[in-house]
Amino acid sequence: MKHTPLALAGLLAATLLPVVASAAVKTTPGQADQRFAQLEQLLPTPNTVRTASGAPGAQYWQQRADYRIKVTLDETRHRLKARQSITYMNRSPDTLSYIWLQLDQNIFNDNSISRRSEVAANSGTRRDSIGAGDSFSFAALRRHHAFEDREYGYEIGEVRDAGGRVLRTTLNDTMLRIDLPQPLRPGTSIEINFDWEANIVDEAPIGARGGYEHFADSNTYQYFLAQWFPRLVAYTDYTGWQHKQFLGRGEFTLEFGDYDIELTVPADHIVASTGVLQNPDAVLTATQRARLKKAETAKSPVFIVTPQEALENEKAGTNQMRTWRFKAENVRDFAWASSRKYIWDAMGYRQDDAKRPFVMAMSFYPNEGEPIWSKYSTHAVVHTMEVYSRFSFPYPYPVAISVNSWERGGMEYPMITFNGYRPTRDEKSGKLTYSRNTKYGLIGVIIHEIGHIYFPMVVNSDERQWTWMDEGLNTFLEYIAELEWEDNFPTFGDKTNVLDFITGYMQSQDQVPIMTNSDTIVQFGPNAYSKPAAALAVLRETVMGRELFDHAFREYANRWKFKRPTPADFFRTMEDASGVDLDWFWRGWFYGTDYVDVSVGDIRAYQISSQDPEKEFPLRRAEFAADWPESYSQRQNRAEGRQTRVDRYPELKDFYNENDPFVVNNKDRNQYKEFRDKLEPWERTALDRAIKAGEHVHFVDFYNLGGLVTPLPLTLTFADGTTEEYQVPAEVWRYNAEKVTKLFIRKQRLVSVELDRNHLIADADQSNNITPRRIEQSRIELFKGRDSGRNQMLDALAELKGEPKSGAKADDKAIPLQPASK
């Protein structure tokens, strides 16, 4: 690091231009100016439905659909039989000559687009097949048999209007068009009625968001019914009828409405459902009702059905049926679960909201979920409401439910969620045990799925089109809630900080922008969940700050609760409510695949020169001596007692022997006087002040290696050991997004510049974040940093040693294949 007097002219120029661009402004796409180009071309034109501020416009509209369904669960045949009525209200300005129903269960039909477009690699199941090339897993074989054994999809009877007229229908895969006898004018409504039946999917082999689960040990079942009935397709201002078929991944958006549902199930079943139970006296015992009352004010979950009662109940069985009636207001879907196996606990949650001061948090789970479900589930439900409500709005529904419906994973519906993770029984000891992964996986998935009741069950974004709008926003809030659950919550594998987790994905080659349609996303999890969550974490903690971010995010949630936002509404609201231009951020993080990697380059340090030879020359002498020490040979000669010729013949000495080049003479003094005289008074004042303050001038280079523009949170360390936190805004890159030089004028000499000490910007390579560089990582540390290669190797080692790979399932084993005989 050089410490050199700086020419005044250069200093003044540098002061006027704090950021020195080293190259001309680029004009090619993806270069500097494009990275800060506004998003106008990419966003839809604002109008009276959706305003430029990101709020719903004066003429905002959305449709409405109310449902009445009477459905019977046939436990013997694993089948639903229903009579359904829908009242559809056309609140759009358009006249509709037909309406569409969404038939999600048809995805399991042998001829569905989803099944016919499956590729060999995954056979359409969420449990991937194994190996490369032609391989076939036991899981895929079981799935094939499950489809072979039973037919799936709806059997729908005639569709009639309120007057009993049969309406013409046309089936298109997972959608059914109903042609209306008269066009449905704006402001009018139509009632349609029909009967339907459908086999319930065997979830374990097929993989679905709902279905039944068979417990082989006790030969018992549970049913969790999701996306189970024909639902009105969303008709919107941005896409008309939602015409994307259900392919399995892109979930759904629907219309809000009121539901009146009668569920007829075996009499010994306990039912968990969207909505409020209308006939508790008919379906619950007096003890259960009393326990529910007690749970309203309890500080910890209260059993409504105890584990022992559930165990007894599941042994009995019955031929009797019983009808549970639920009503739900202003929900966009309806789901339920039913089983004689359920333990049921509940705990009241009170919130500061005049409209909804009380919510009942509840959990339903079989004994197979114990002991972790009674310990964590309902607490996680309440914790989610506490945290999410702070960032959005008070929980708007009367109940919040977590059901243990499968082994792992989760799915959300209004007021009710289906969640995985259970303990496992040790084969040798027979004891129930659960891993760290199971514990935190359970808490995490419940927070996530209950969180979805806010996004997208209330803030009704369209996951069929933009997965990130609910998964990403929800993962971000889940992350915040998990940080508030306990310190060092392992949210992302072994990492707590999403910004440390996401860098591997952001550097990978096979990624697509976040703004990719749901069914064509590759690397779904990191793309739609973690990367948007990381982006929002960067926005909150680094770009905007908590106060601005939280206000804007809350504004978005409140503007769009019970409405239907699009990405532009989110982007615009966040900017409008915070006063921060974030177009560069959306462009880089949501429309691009660059990553963050900034390298801190040289620090060049200077002090301002007074030009006064009486002060400067001694300094120069000292610096010269420091830079160019006396030659080793000369010192050795002296040590040997060797005299120079001049020492031996003093008469050879003259003026130059007495005066080194740094001795001040009159010429130097005159030059200094001339320099001072030519300065304007204000220039003299500025110079004298800077010299008196002893200011140090530093130029620091930053190189953008990853491409994504980012703020630069810096830790400046000075010669006296003190530090200063200083954040350079991302706009520093607006003229040159590849290299910038930043000027720092400080009273102290800068000895170190460190970028992102607190891991705030998802910088992919921390090794180049400090100047001077720290000791390099060892070969092993570097190898361990490359997670993918390391994990592959450890998996291979485990395989060769005969150890089970973590997460591997027994049915993932490959089936030996041989060439087909002729």
Binding site: R779, I780, F783, R790, M793, A796, L797, L800, P819
Partner: protein, 176 residues
């Protein structure tokens, strides 16, 4: 009549046969130009509190080792399985002993191919007992009779290198 699949297999076998002839004629000459030496470096990492053990095996020697072990043709040092097998070979053949004679068990972190060498990475929690430690190596002694395994101990001042061979498979050292 053979199927297409069978024909292709026969063709592959013919190609392997031709290659074997070529190797038989040429290989002894080319092998003679390079000594069969592995280098193992042991470096203490103060940040992690581990001894980092890096074994470097020349690519061609690694290739030969896998061939001698009769693994499948596609299991090469360039494949994950090939490197994993080499790592297991190292685990079996290079053994570390505490002053009381107990066996120390380094954890294999992984392996990678870089340049001419396959690197096998291991970590061992820095031993806390003072005294005379030992290392035994029989790595590839059954493949190349003249095999030399150098164990370089970076914590020793000056740096010490143990030169282990078929004749002397064991060396001792004292960590600071």
């Amino acid at each position: 009549m053979p199927t297409h699949r069978t024909r292709r297999r026969l063709l592959q076998l013919a190609a392997v046969g031709a290659a074997s002839v070529w190797l038989a004629l040429v290989a002894p000459l080319s092998l003679a130009h390079r000594a069969h030496v592995t280098l193992t470096r042991v470096t203490p990492n103060l940040r992690s509190g581990q001894w980092e053990i890096v074994h470097a095996i020349h690519y061609h020697d690694a290739l030969r080792l896998l061939a001698v072990r009769e693994v499948r043709d596609d299991v090469q040092p360039a494949s994950v399985e090939g490197r994993a097998r080499l790592a297991l070979e190292v685990e079996r053949s290079v053994r570390w002993f505490a002053p009381n004679g107990s066996l120390l068990k380094p954890v294999t972190v992984g392996a990678e191919l870089e340049g001419d060498n396959v690197y096998v990475y291991q970590e061992l929690p820095a031993p806390k007992i003072s005294g005379r430690y030992a290392v035994e190596s029989t790595l590839m002694h059954d493949v190349f009779p003249e095999q030399i395994n150098n164990i370089s101990l970076d914590f020793a001042v000056p740096r010490t290198t143990l030169r282990l061979s078929r004749q002397q498979t064991r060396g001792e050292f004292t960590p600071p």
